[in-house]
Amino acid sequence: MKSYLRVRCNKKFLATIRDFVKEKLADMNINGRVSHQIVLAVDEACANCMIHQHQCDNLSTLEISIYKEGDTLYTEIKDPGKAFPMHTYQPEQLQEIIKKRAKGGLGISLIHKIMDEIQVKQESNYSLYRLGKKLEA
């Protein structure tokens, strides 16, 4: 069964997203380190959509869903905006980010380090980010 949450593209709702993901994972008996990692990856993906795809436009919304398929936990983010290719995006090396005193560029790295599958689909009127994490038996 899929669980859904719809939020406005406002960074203050990132905490709501984290609470939702954590709660749904707990319902599926996914807790501790794995839960924290998934919460972090979803937070990063949603923040990226809100900031870079929607410039925090309060009128736009994101829809987050969570479900299990076999031994993999999936979270999907349905975004009415244009897709950002986070599955192929190559973030800069950490040393480069430090040199530039950049504040950004780390979120996508975290998503890649945490999730086992990253799929991005551009549909006619929305984009879909599907993040999969294999669960240990």
Binding site: D43, S109, L110
Partner: protein, 113 residues
Amino acid sequence: MEIKTVKHPQYTTVIPVGDIDANSSVDLDQAVGELLEGGESNIHISCKEVPYISSAGLGVFISKLDEITALEGDLVLSGMRENVFEAFNLLGLHQLVRIFENEVDVEKYFSQE
């Protein structure tokens, strides 16, 4: 977010309270920036009241590292919960900044400098 600062003879402690995410990291960035502008260069961030940090929070530390090094100062952290350390660990950032278990160790470190 609520941010407390405590001045010590050799360093200044910054104590953020609550989650540091893309929303609240702006406040932390401003607080540390103001200290640097005011001439402080030895900064201690106490993470004891931070249950969660995202890349936006980590980005604040990274963006200040060069500036603090140029001032011949130091940026150290302490009191990290497991979740917060995990975020540092995933990016290898724990190798770039000194992380102490508690404030007693931070005080010892700056006293020896």
